[in-house]
Amino acid sequence: MSGSASLFGFPGGVRLPTHKAASTGDPIGALPLPPELVVPLTQHGGDPARAVVSAGDTVGRGECIGRAPGEFSAAVHAPTSGTVVAVEDRPVAHPSGLTEPCVVIATDGLDRRSPEAPEPLHDWAQRAPAELRRRIEAAGVVGLGGAAFPTAVKLTPRPGADVELLIINAIECEPWITCDDVLLREHAGAVLTGIRIMRHILGAQEVVIALEETKREAADALHEALAGAEDEGIRVVPVPVRYPAGGEKQLVQSLTGREVPTDGLPLDIGVLCHNAGTAAAVHDAVCLGEPLTERIVTVAGTGVGAPRNLRVRLGTPVSALVEAAGGYRGRTSRLIVGGPMMGHALEHDRVPVTKGCNCFLVGEEYSFPAPEPALPCIRCGDCADACPVSLQPQQLYWHARARDTEALAETGLFDCIECGACAYVCPSHLPLVGYYRSAKAEIRAAEQQQRFAEQARQRYEFRQARLERERREQAERRRRKKEALQTDAGADERGDRKAEIQAAIARARKRKRGGDD
């Protein structure tokens, strides 16, 4: 079954100009291999991978260059063949503009596949879920929707938690972004196979592929790929275009009518969400034996000559992408990674594409002007109407300004998904999300500080106790020695020693006399 299933919707939200047509005109473009790839060791949520190559090593495509140190991490692979030039800190696409450890590879242009890369598994349906999970983990697959959470972890629900519904999120609710749209138009078959693999691993009864009702070409491609197999319980569900319809919790609410609990996961209500791009990466890892070393990226905005989607090797500099999309146009004012609502600005284009980069947006100053000066809050309540989580953004704003931690917690600061709908509708142009982000950061830092202090206290108390014990033990030793000197046994011992010394003296004298003779 497909088409308009009854939807429950979610509260709030805003209608945004979509700007999608700009980048969907051309098919997915390829990019020539750049001379140098800078592959960050952290391209995912969780712990950084540990480099297992060093300068001078030769690597092949798909060779592991960074191993995951634990479960909450992801491996990193060489995107093409070449020589490792350095493992060093380089600037990355992070809001701080700071550097991170990266493996720098000088490419050789041959794109030779590493013999280490795994063989394709065509009979995945006969394989055990654990084996497929291991393969996905080893391939470094992470969520390609933006958060880059390790996929293998998400495909391992905690014991006892059944996944009834697997949602494939193909909604790109932010303006400009179209990488999932073109992926579905051109590679619906691969996405569908990836979905079937995930479903096989999870044992999910029902699968819903959710996309905006405007993505007709993508929906047609999916129906064609599904051809006749629709009764297996995979449905394509179009949802109305409204921001943030693609937010995980909003989508779950739209489709099931149930809310994901605060501090909870969709899994708590039997639902699991994966991005459509992630499904394609799962297909590549299992059916092609290709670790995650490339992704589709949208390059759009009014500041590029020819907005389009590109298939890009991870580690490619953003400057090369902009060039392939027609170069900078007009008076470029801003370069944003992600969408205009939740993305963040980059200081320059000499940062590499990572697994989580779905879009680079180039704005020129007319369509992306600098933020207008903020004016006082007039308590109009528009932000509360727009909030998809039914919070009171204006209250959060007051509490965040006052740094009132308790009130912020009560008002639901940590339920805020930072979608920016409130700031978008604010007639006073208040940078509301900025306040929420910094308030969250301050509270987390304070909690971290508290944990650290508690640890320091324990270590201090343990040390005090140890020193005290050592003092006691020493005093005890001294006391015993003193006692030993005073007791009879001690006296005997002293007598023995004296006698021994006398005997030794006597022997020495005797020897001496003997020598004299």
Binding site: T42, V92, H94, P95, S96, L98, E100, P371, P373, A374, L375, P376, C377, W398, R401, A402, S428, L430, P431, G434, Y435, R437, S438, K440, A441, E442, A445, Q449, F452, A453, E454, Q455, A456, R457, R459, Y460, E461, F462, R463, Q464
Partner: protein, 184 residues
């Protein structure tokens, strides 16, 4: 009458025994006031307050011996929290005990110059330095509270306090800069 006296007497004796037992067996580990004061201190254990650690300082405050503004690492925030807890007027940090650090620091040992004398290990209040006699020592950065106590005893001056580096893992979103001025 007699029954009533006996009944009440028995109940009284029963409760007396229970309370007596409880006071012996369920003794509170320590003074709850000290615990609550200690919980507000930063646990740097730097002894700048004039007491050999945070807990001794907390005990001195509880006894009314020490003032609440003698903790430079805690700064004004700790003074405010203590004033809140003890229902006193907050006051500025007493500069006699030192000034709050601009940025958090951790100790770093220049390992080429370390002679392995163990003096810093003995000075560290939280056992954050590892090493052995005549072996190079090193600081476990994640455990270091930045108390500076190891710097002074080092005979070869090979310990330096370094600011904690900002990385993408501890970086925080700053507060928005364009803020309107208006009364709340």
């Amino acid at each position: 009458m007699l029954t009533a006296i006996m009944a009440i007497g028995t109940i009284a004796a029963g409760f007396g025994l229970l309370l007596g037992y409880a006071s012996v067996r369920l003794q509170p580990g320590s003074d709850p006031a000290v615990e609550r004061i200690d919980a507000l201190l930063p646990q740097t254990q730097c002894a700048q307050c004039g007491y050999p650690g945070c807990r001794p300082y907390a005990e001195a405050i509880a006894r009314g011996e020490a003032d609440i503004n003698q903790c430079p690492p805690g700064g004004e925030a700790t003074v405010r929290a203590l004033a809140d807890l003890l229902d006193r007027e907050p006051k500025p940090l007493n500069a006699d005990y030192g000034e709050a650090k601009e940025q958090a620091t951790v100790a770093w040992i220049d390992e080429d110059r370390c002679i392995g004398c163990t003096l810093c290990i003995q000075a560290c209040p939280v056992d954050a330095i590892i090493g052995a006699p005549r072996q190079m020592h090193t600081v476990v950065e994640d455990l270091c509270t930045g108390c500076d106590l190891c710097v002074e005893p080092c005979p070869v001056d090979c310990i330096h306090m370094r600011p904690v580096a900002t990385t993408t893992r501890n970086w925080q979103w700053p507060r928005p800069s364009n803020t309107p001025d208006h009364a709340a």
